[in-house]
């Protein structure tokens, strides 16, 4: 026996497993819909037809739990069913009419019931009972079909939600399902392979071109501890790191991130010169000081780029990846990994050929991942009837030295 007690950080306020004030929390509703909320203190969070609750009631709870919203917004823990998956098999519904005409409650009556449910006057169970009681076909269904039908109705009317933890898994899935163009169609399995193949770990120095709104960046930053660092290159003047906010990173973590515009790549850094032109106002001095600080910060970041043999070079860009590789390859250390992602295989073919023909890259490989989820229920086990069609392509290579001993 090595360990017995709860580990101390379980109750600590630094514990990333515990929901904190001002955290961005990903809420999953019974419909399967998800949305981010920022947990501002002393506010009411509305989940539409799934009810509303006080933000403070969620603070201090573990991430990953589910809650039912009772009368007056009281949160009580809810343990969901063991099986996440809604059964899709139609095989045993042989005698049921396929149309939806069996319901005797009118649309208005159902809406009225729903309203009562929201006000707390009627429980979710009562709503479901009313609806199923009035479904003429219900009793024709097999026992199994009945439970499936009930589950579907329960999902539709139960006022509950799950507070998903800000894990790479949850956030990647969220964007892939809801808005994949933001994250360049990067699927969870493909991202997981990028993280393995790049060999990033706590003390890595990582050079990154990430146009997934910082999804890749965040998943790397989460692993980095000083003196490890991430240098993120971007086009234009300011980077687009929107998704990073959802990870609730500490200041310590954010200090490991440096960003630099491509405008400053491959150029000599000019010395800082302030032409005061005789101005002496306090506001002028403040501005001059800020300009100097910005310049110093830029010089420092350019210095990091130019003076570091990076441990990993990771690229997901809308620019021609081959052109980016050619500019950045000299900053990658020997025997270190290059990993390039694109949603289009064709966009990687030129880079593949370049790397294959280059004497400074070994083990060039282009791959596509495939991921399929299954329903595992007694007697009804099968892959889900729909799956993701494409989750991105990965090109990798090992940089080697041109020195021969």
């Amino acid at each position: 026996m090595e360990v017995e007690s709860n580990s101390p950080e379980t109750t600590s306020s630094n514990n990333p497993n515990i929901i904190k004030v001002n955290d961005s929390v990903l809420i999953r509703m019974p419909s399967g819909n998800e949305k981010f909320i920022v947990l501002e203190p002393n506010t009411t969070v509305s989940l539409g037809k799934f009810g509303s609750f006080k933000s403070d009631d969620l603070v201090g709870k573990q991430y990953g739990l589910s809650f039912e919203i009772h009368d007056n917004g009281v949160l009580k823990q809810f343990i969901p069913e063991a099986f996440d998956v809604v059964d899709e098999t139609e095989a045993n519904n042989q005698d049921i009419r396929g149309d939806n005409q069996a319901q005797t409650l009118s649309h208005e009556e159902i809406e009225e019931l729903k309203k009562k449910g929201l006000s707390g006057a009627v429980s979710t169970e009562e709503i479901i009972n009313s609806i199923t009681k009035n479904n003429q076909e219900f009793n024709k269904k097999t026992e199994y079909s009945k439970s499936k039908y009930l589950k579907r109705k329960e999902n539709k009317y139960r006022k509950m939600f799950t507070a998903l933890g800000p894990t790479v898994y949850n956030i990647t899935n969220h964007f892939f399902n809801k808005n994949p163009t933001k994250t360049r169609y990067l699927r969870i399995d493909t991202l997981s392979q990028i993280l393995s193949l790049s060999n990033v770990y706590s003390s890595s120095k990582v050079l990154l071109v990430d146009e997934t709104q910082a999804l890749i960046l965040s998943s790397i930053l989460q692993k980095i501890r000083a003196p490890g660092l991430v240098l993120a290159l971007h086009d234009g003047d300011t980077p687009t790191f929107n998704i990073m906010d959802h990870f609730n990173f500490s200041k310590d973590t954010l200090d490991n991130l440096h960003s630099l515009s491509f405008k400053h790549v491959g150029k000599e850094m000019e010395p800082f010169i302030e032409h005061s032109d005789g101005q002496t106002s306090e506001s002028y001095h403040r501005a001059a000081k800020r300009r100097k600080a910005n310049h110093e910060k830029l010089a420092k970041t350019v210095g990091i780029l130019n003076n570091t043999a990076f441990d990993s070079l990771i690229i997901s860009t809308k620019y021609n990846p081959a052109s980016v590789i050619k500019i950045l390859e000299k900053h990658l250390g020997d025997s270190r990994m290059l990993v390039v992602h694109s949603p289009h295989k064709e966009a990687l073919l030129e880079a593949f050929e370049y790397l294959r023909s280059s004497a400074t890259f070994l083990n060039v490989n282009l791959s596509e991942s495939w991921l399929r989820e299954y329903q595992v229920l007694p007697g009804r086990t099968h892959p889900l009837m729909s799956m993701s069609s494409e989750g991105g392509f990965i090109l990798t290579a090992i940089k080697v030295s041109t020195l021969v001993s």
Binding site: E90, A91, F262, K263, K318, K326, S386, S388
Partner: protein, 328 residues
């Protein structure tokens, strides 16, 4: 897309217009027709089993192209073959089988659900398949097939296929290698069916899954990173079709996944920061048309029933020894 039978003085009504059946008569298949009222147009297409699968009334879960195609090939459904199918279901596969075994093959299709049997029978008649398809209302699990020693191939799409393996064995022509396929969505159905096939002396048992993915092709912008290094602002918009044509006419670096990316900085650096077309290099690329695709239809279990030659003492191992000695 939808299917309609041409009848005198009828109309076909859509959101975008009304079409008179009388005006369709005499037109060619593949012709575009303008609505009599409304702004719509539509194409009149020649029916095929593949198009029918897209428009038929779903009375059950139906088979789709990849499974239909693979099963047809494995069962060797070529002209002249005698085939059993059960259940008929929505008749999606029946139409394809009929095409493949015409002109001199025959399909016997069994359905125990009366309403479904009647609708399918009416469709086969309406589609002129009565000489190739015999539709039967029968509970084959309780009563077996009313055919013995005759067919080349059997297709099972039943909740409990293992219950008709014995009946299937009797229906096969004893003079040829009989080929059977069972279509089941759940692995547990496969597990039981395979055991039943083994018990009844079927051999060469194999199980497959077949799926397809669809792709789109599009021109994606793929500019050199030098544009960003020069401080130019690139708008990553996809080419619209008209732009593509203009693009082609200009005979720029169109469509090239060019390997000559060094040395073309001049274009970009000479341009101003106005997103002019000289910043764009386009590449023809593919992507899945939809994020979601079909992830599963069914498991396809195949097996053969090999005829036993009369003159042969058969060397077999274990459990099939007894079975094999029975001569047919």
């Amino acid at each position: 897309m939808s299917s309609t039978v041409i009848q005198k003085d009828r109309t076909y009504n859509t959101r975008n217009g009304v079409y008179h059946h009388n005006q369709m008569v005499g037109l060619s298949y593949g012709q575009k027709m303008k609505a009599t009222s409304g702004k719509g147009t539509m194409y009149l297409l020649h029916p095929t089993p593949e198009l029918w699968t897209k428009v038929l009334p779903h009375r059950t879960q139906i088979l789709y192209l990849p499974d239909i195609s693979f099963i047809s090939m494995w069962l060797d459904l070529v002209p002249g073959k005698k085939v059993i199918e059960t259940g008929t279901g929505s008749g999606s596969f029946s139409h394809s089988i009929a095409r493949n075994i015409s002109p001199d093959g025959h399909l016997y299709t069994y359905e125990y659900h009366e309403q479904r049997f009647e609708k399918a029978k009416a469709e086969f008649e309406a589609h002129g398949l009565s000489n190739i398809v015999t539709s039967k209302h029968r509970d084959v699990i309780a009563n077996g097939f009313d055919i013995e020693n005759y067919v080349d191939a059997i297709f099972l799409d039943l909740p409990a296929p293992w219950e008709v393996i014995g009946a299937s064995k009797k229906a096969f022509n004893k003079g040829v290698v009989g080929r059977i396929c069972s279509f089941s969505p759940c692995i547990e159905q496969v597990q039981r069916t395979v055991l039943a096939l083994n018990e009844h002396g079927f051999t060469g048992i194999r199980m497959y899954e077949c799926l397809v993915r669809d792709f789109e092709a599009q021109h994606i912008p793929l500019p050199d990173i030098s544009t960003a290094m020069d401080g130019a602002k690139v708008k990553f918009k996809k080419l619209q079709f008209e732009q593509k044509l203009a693009h082609k006419r200009k005979r720029l670096d169109t469509d090239s996944i060019s390997t000559a990316t060094t040395g073309n900085n001049s274009d970009a650096s000479n341009s101003t920061n106005n997103g002019s077309s000289s910043y764009y290099r386009y590449s023809l690329a593919s992507k899945c048309g939809q994020c979601e695709t079909r992830g599963h239809t069914s498991y396809l279990t195949f097996a053969e029933l090999v005829p036993i030659l009369e003159s042969t003492t058969v060397a077999v191992s274990g459990e099939k020894e007894e079975e094999a000695k029975i001569q047919v």
